[in-house]
């Protein structure tokens, strides 16, 4: 169990648990681990647009160099651009992104990728933590210190790679009008250029990188995207899109200004990619709506469910040679480019789908089966999580109304009317309960029923 690394790297608040001193020591720990496992480690580093980035990055670079690891500084870039650079280069044995994704501006974080550009495994993160906590740092002598250089071309190469992955001529012919909201995040330095190369007319909202996030919080939730939602129908655009802080996730708004949850776009893309490719595999976490399962099954493909967390989805996709995968939060993974969430690629592919089908995004979404999800949570002390899970499992196994149980992450069980997922939170003293059914009422009833079961069980513990 890692103590510093969460689902998506290390996160902290500047001046509290994230500082230059901490970043320097993480650099030393990371470098010491790499020195033990690689012959000539060389990391590529990029940042999102946060105010504390330069400070954290400088400290981290200094720590890495002091262990003899070479560093290439790729500047401000979307997370997937750095991942693509690492994935496609023989030079880099891994990469680090300084980002706290969608967190508020006082946060920052450090996220690592291996030589394939995919997020580090838990095992690697644990090894780095061991070096950090034991202060087991490799100190290179003055002759073997790491070398530092700057590379400012990774974004151009990344954009070109996306352009090559889609039918650019077909997309350009449509002359799509796209409203783009980068939320002043890292997407600002890449996505407007990509859309222009795709021949789109772009209405830019908040496309200047600014770590104060002056326009709205960087998590692309409906309440944060009112400007985008209003602008799309007002300017008569074909589609609107918002990226999160480090531009690995994209959320779409159709031409009427309707906000589309991530499972809709996930399913639209899955439908497109599996339609003429039977017997392929798609991956998604257990939390994703059944609409994706229906689409994949209808095209004679297999859906694999994984634990929650994009690094896990990516690793499962590699293992099962999936053609597509992703999360319901707008993080879509296209193995044709690389095994990581990529918002710019999502935009390009969605435009390709609209161009090929000659349908609006609204119409494409209408073809996706509709389910209603309900999410709730209840307090549960950390030490009671495990016993509660065991008690729930025991109880459920005697429940005749349950058709199937999936224990990938927590416990997800399917009933005639829908499914319920019960899982302890990884970070907070909470027990989460999700449910899904064809209508909102049934979903809510399901969740409430099993919440009361869990409450009873917890009081008996």
């Amino acid at each position: 169990m890692t103590q510093l690394f969460g689902t998506n790297g290390i996160r902290g608040i500047i001046g509290e648990d994230m500082s230059s001193g901490f970043a320097h020591d993480i650099g030393r720990a990371w470098g010491s681990y790499l020195q033990k496992t690689q012959s000539s480690p060389h990391l590529a580093i990029a940042t999102d647009a946060r105010l504390s980035n330069q400070m954290i990055k400088s400290a981290l670079i200094s720590g890495l160099l002091s262990t003899g690891v070479d560093v290439t500084d790729c500047g401000l870039a979307p997370t997937p651009a750095l991942q693509y650079a690492v994935h496609t280069s023989d030079e880099f044995s891994g990469g680090i992104i300084i980002t706290a994704s969608h967190n508020p501006p006082e946060f920052n974080g450090i996220k690592g990728v291996d030589e394939s550009g995919t997020e580090l495994t838990k095992t690697t993160e644990e090894e780095i933590e061991k070096h950090y906590f034991s202060k087991d740092f490799h100190t290179a002598d003055w002759k073997s210190l790491g070398k530092y250089c700057i590379n400012s071309s990774i974004i151009d190469r990344y954009i070109d790679a996306i352009i090559e992955s889609v039918d650019v001529d077909l997309i350009a012919k449509q002359k799509f009008h796209v409203v783009l909201d980068c939320g002043n995040g890292a997407g600002s330095v890449a996505t407007p250029a990509l859309l222009k190369k795709l021949g789109c007319k772009v209405t830019e909202l908040n496309c200047i990188a600014d770590g104060t996030f002056p326009a709205h919080p960087s998590e692309p939730l409906p309440e944060n995207l009112s400007e985008l939602i209003e602008t799309v129908p007002k300017v008569k655009a074909d589609v609107g899109v918002a990226q999160d802080g480090d531009a690995d996730r994209a959320i779409f708004v159709d031409h009427t200004g309707t906000y589309l949850w991530g499972d809709k776009t996930l399913s639209v893309v899955a439908e497109y990619l599996t339609k003429d490719s039977p017997n392929q595999t798609v991956a998604t976490p257990v939390t994703t709506s059944s609409c994706l399962a229906d689409v994949v099954a209808a095209n004679n493909c297999t859906l694999i469910t994984t634990k929650v967390g994009s690094p896990i989805v990516a690793r499962e996709m590699i293992k099962h040679k999936c053609i597509f995968g992703g999360e319901e939060n707008g993080g879509l993974i296209f193995p044709s480019l690389h095994y990581c969430r990529d918002s710019a690629m999502s935009i390009a592919v969605l435009l390709e789908i609209m161009a090929k089908s000659q349908k609006s995004l609204k119409d494409l979404v209408l073809q996706i089966p509709v389910y209603e999800m309900f999410k709730t949570k209840m307090p549960c002390p950390n030490e009671k999580k495990r016993p509660l899970m065991d008690a729930v499992k025991k109880q459920l196994k005697t429940d005749p109304s349950i058709i199937r149980i999936d224990e990938t992450d927590g416990i997800k069980f399917y009933l005639e009317t829908g499914w319920v997922l019960m899982r302890p939170s990884g970070t907070e003293p909470l027990f989460r309960i999700y449910s899904e059914a064809k209508d909102a009422r049934t979903a809510k009833d399901l969740a409430r029923a099993y919440q009361s079961l869990a409450s009873d069980l917890i009081s008996q513990l």
């Binding site: 200094s62 160099l65 790491g146």
Partner: protein
């Protein structure tokens, strides 16, 4: 970062220096960054600092941790990156930043590193100001900012504006051939490029970056410059130039392969490098009496200052000097800039040769070289300054012309002697220059004996 004990001896009069992993490391440089950022805002009421580093192996890690510390205090950084000394100072002055920092250990061996500070106009930080940064480090006296007050880095391309500046100020009508010895050090990043851009034929000696300094020692003493001297004769160069590790000192070698002392180079610059011979030439107390003898009759006045290149820039600014000469090899031409970028010296020598019918060896013929002697007397550290104080009182009574601004310089008809305690070793140095060898021997032995006796009597 780790709390490591800071050795106070790394803080010297004009810079911070130490051996990497022994005296200095990234953790310490992070603290120096915090200290300098705090000093910049609290004492100078400034907000922006230029930061660059020489070519040493340990420069990138030290520069990055230093910069991280500065940013944590809320000061902004103009980053020049890995450059020669002059490139960073030039860009810092151009940006009009409040402070300029350069990670370097000057001419010291490759395992050393350190940092120097300059004001935004290119004047070096005097000791008492540098001590404020030191005290911030030793006392952990830092002012950190929250996430919304953290400083930002602005990177600048350090080479092109620098080249353009010299192109604006120098052009040669002759095809000059200059041998350039960068010793594989920081000047490899600028000197050959600037000279070529000015149309000079460059014979390169150790002009490929080699941070191990394995081509030759980074101190450009004539003994270390045989490759350069060979190249001058092989290629028939008009002259040669060798630089130290970071590029704030140069040595000029004439067309016959003979090295010029810093004083000689300074005299040539004064004699032939100006259309008007006016203003105050700044020289330190160790400089040859030839400087004054040669330059005063032309119309310059000559002012002596204490030893140390920081004094050079400080006094040159105060006096609006056209020229400053430090016997250790720092030469400044403040009509271009105040800081001691050694590249200006060969460019100016080239200009002189471009306008002259004579070769460098011919031009220097008129400059007298007086015999010089340097003697060292052992004296415990706790006694050496007391000895100097006693001698001061005694010699001021005995001689008419005594200068006590830095040690004791006694000027006589046939020569002079400077008695000065070393700042770093248990030694008193007696430097003497005279018209001839006999006078030299007389003057030198007199002051050496005098000092020796006093040291002995005070030890009893």
């Amino acid at each position: 970062m780790n709390q490591t004990a800071v050795s106070p001896h790394i803080f010297r009069a004009y810079d911070i220096r130490g051996i990497y992993n022994e005296d200095i490391d990234p953790t310490l440089f992070y603290k120096i960054g915090l200290a300098a950022g705090t000093y910049l805002q609290k004492n100078l009421k400034g907000k922006t600092m230029t930061a660059g580093a020489d070519i040493r192996c340990s420069s990138p890690t030290l520069l990055h941790s230093f910069v991280s510390g500065v940013l944590a205090t809320g000061a902004n950084i103009t980053m020049t990156g890995i450059t020669s000394f002059g490139q960073t100072l030039f860009n810092g002055c151009k940006q009009n930043d409040d402070l300029i920092s350069f990670v370097t250990a000057s001419h010291l061996p490759a395992e050393w590193n350190g940092i120097k500070f300059y004001y935004g106009d290119g004047v070096g930080l005097p000791t008492e100001e540098l001590n404020k940064i030191r005290d911030n480090v030793l006392d952990d006296s830092f002012e950190l900012k929250g996430f919304d007050g953290i400083g930002q880095i602005r990177s600048v391309e350090p080479t092109q504006p620098y080249i353009d500046f010299f192109k604006d100020h120098f052009s040669y009508s002759k095809k000059l051939n200059v041998a350039v010895d960068c010793g594989g050090a920081s000047m490899t990043l600028s000197a050959p490029h600037v000279m070529k851009a000015l149309g000079v034929d460059v014979s390169e000696v150790f002009c490929t970056p080699n941070p191990l300094f394995s081509d030759r020692p980074s101190e450009p003493k004539p003994d270390n410059l045989s490759a350069l001297i060979d190249t001058i004769s092989r290629d028939g160069c008009d002259f040669g130039v060798a630089f130290d590790g970071d590029g704030d000192r140069s040595v000029i070698i004439d067309d016959r392969g003979v090295a010029l002392s810093s004083d000689e180079t300074g005299i040539l610059l004064g004699k032939y490098g100006f259309s008007k011979h006016e203003g105050v030439v700044i020289v330190n107390v160790e400089c040859s009496k030839a400087v004054s003898e040669q330059l005063t009759p032309l119309g310059f006045s000559v002012k002596q200052i204490p030893v140390g290149h920081t004094h050079l820039t400080l006094h040159a600014k105060k006096e609006c000097s056209p020229l400053g000469i430090e016997s250790s090899g720092h030469l400044i031409l403040p009509n271009y800039f105040l800081f001691d970028d050694a590249l200006i010296v060969p460019l100016k020598i080239a200009e002189i040769l471009d306008e002259s019918e004579q070769s460098l060896s011919e031009l220097r013929r008129d400059i007298p070289i007086y015999p010089l002697s340097k003697k060292e007397i052992k004296c415990p550290d706790d006694l050496k300054f007391e000895v100097i104080e006693k001698l001061k009182v005694q010699l001021q009574k005995e001689y008419d012309d005594v200068n006590t601004m830095d040690g004791i310089r006694v000027n006589e008809e046939q020569g002079w002697s400077l008695i000065r305690a070393s700042n770093t070793s248990p030694i008193i140095r007696v430097t003497t220059e005279a018209d001839d060898k006999i006078s030299l021997e007389q003057i030198s032995s007199h002051f050496v004996e005098l000092t020796q006796k006093l040291v002995e009597s005070m030890q009893d």
